[in-house]
Symmetry: C2
DNA sequence: ATCAAAAATCGAACAGCGTTCATTATGTCG
DNA sequence: CGACATAATGAACGCTGTTCGATTTTTGAT
């Protein structure tokens, strides 16, 4: 079994090498300007070899897409678990904005770019039968690879359980909170907030994060 | 003088024809899939002719960019002027979301796509000397070609003057309002809200619009 | 009307792209 | 060792945005 294992391991290492080179080029040069030939050159292989490991350029992007989402997930949960549940939503909001502003190219790939057809793999909190399992009892995908959205929603629910008065229902509150932070960083990354001096913008964003709660809670 | 005028008019008509064909293709096929050859074919000219009227493909996009911004501007001001100043912000927010959801490809070009280098031509409300006119009293760029952002800000200022208590300063309030509506439509157009049933999503958006005010005002 | 000058149009051509594929090389097993 | 699967190659295909000399059309003055 060892030889097949090694083969598979080498294959994954090659995939990771391609992904690493691609990520570097995507981040520094942008997605459209990153050519398959450039990726191949970076890992010192022929262009055709790329296609032994990925179906096409889009699939490379998809792989990075999921990888970056995992990073965001970890960043949010790390920031969230570091504070008690009452402050959690604010901490998550701040971590979200920090992640986006410190990794704008990652955020670009994840949320801003048009991925045509791509399985978003977002938490399907399908309102009704969400955790329809009953037997096994662990359908929530280990709650680890469940999305950032889900975690934000859990934080809001915790705040409500702690006694805060929600303005809207849970989903609407989550949507508003997410829209607010996404809207700010999306406008910022696209350069629509360039008219503000950086420090003033920082202050506004700071207020915005603190304001997430006041947007969705009555008190 | 008439012949030079006609030449110029014909030139503008040709430009408009190209823009119209390009807009149609951009909207139906998307920007990357729209080729110069396809645009040329649509207006029944040779590909090279396009370059007599536009420097490159990007400049066609820029022209449409400004054109769509004018459309949004008009839509917002029409909706805003139709109601008294106290309800204006909500009316603008609703018109903004309606515009984006009814013209998602326009919104894509305006706010979602990465335009690399592009003079955003956004209202330079440079925080300080904004409407420094005093004498004439109409330095606000005829208030017509001034941006949608500016108009939203004016609506908020009107609400404040009507006695509403702002949570933050004017710029921050405007940023929050804009981020909220942009965030919602951006997430929606990118397909991140597909897990919600359409009618439930509509309700949430409805709440969100009504909630703009409660986000930035204390009362 | 005539005719040079100017402007507009054309379409072939160029370099680059993502992708494919027959060929070559490499490594694995009977 | 020899048969075989697998990986790597790089030329080639069809496409792209763009350029440019050749061609046609339009202009302005005689």
């Amino acid at each position: 079994m060892s030889i097949a294992d090694r083969k598979e391991r080498e294959r994954q290492e090659m995939r990771q090498g391609i992904l690493q080179a691609a990520a570097h080029l995507f981040v520094t040069e942008g997605f459209p300007k990153t050519t398959i030939r450039a990726i191949a050159s970076e890992i010192e292989y022929s262009p055709g070899t790329i296609y032994t490991y990925f179906k096409d350029k889009q699939e490379i992007l998809n792989a990075l897409f999921h990888q970056f989402f995992d990073e965001l997930n970890i960043a949010l949960r790390t920031a969230g678990e570091a504070v008690e549940s009452t402050n959690r939503l604010t901490a998550i909001g701040r971590a979200y904005i920090d992640f986006a502003l410190q990794n704008p190219e990652h955020y670009e790939l994840m949320f801003l770019m048009n991925h045509e057809r791509l399985d978003k793999k977002l938490p399907d909190l399908s309102t009704e039968v969400d955790c329809r399992d009953a037997d096994t009892g662990k359908k929530i995908e280990s709650a680890q690879d469940s999305g950032s959205f889900q975690y934000m929603q859990e934080a809001i629910q915790l705040a409500i359980q702690s006694g805060r008065q929600p303005r809207y229902d849970l989903h609407t509150s989550t949507l508003l909170a997410w829209s607010l932070v996404h809207g700010i960083v999306a406008l910022h990354i696209r350069g629509f907030l360039e008219m503000y001096p950086p420090d003033y913008l920082q202050t506004m964003i700071h207020h915005a994060v603190d304001g997430i709660s006041s947007s969705i809670f009555l008190d």
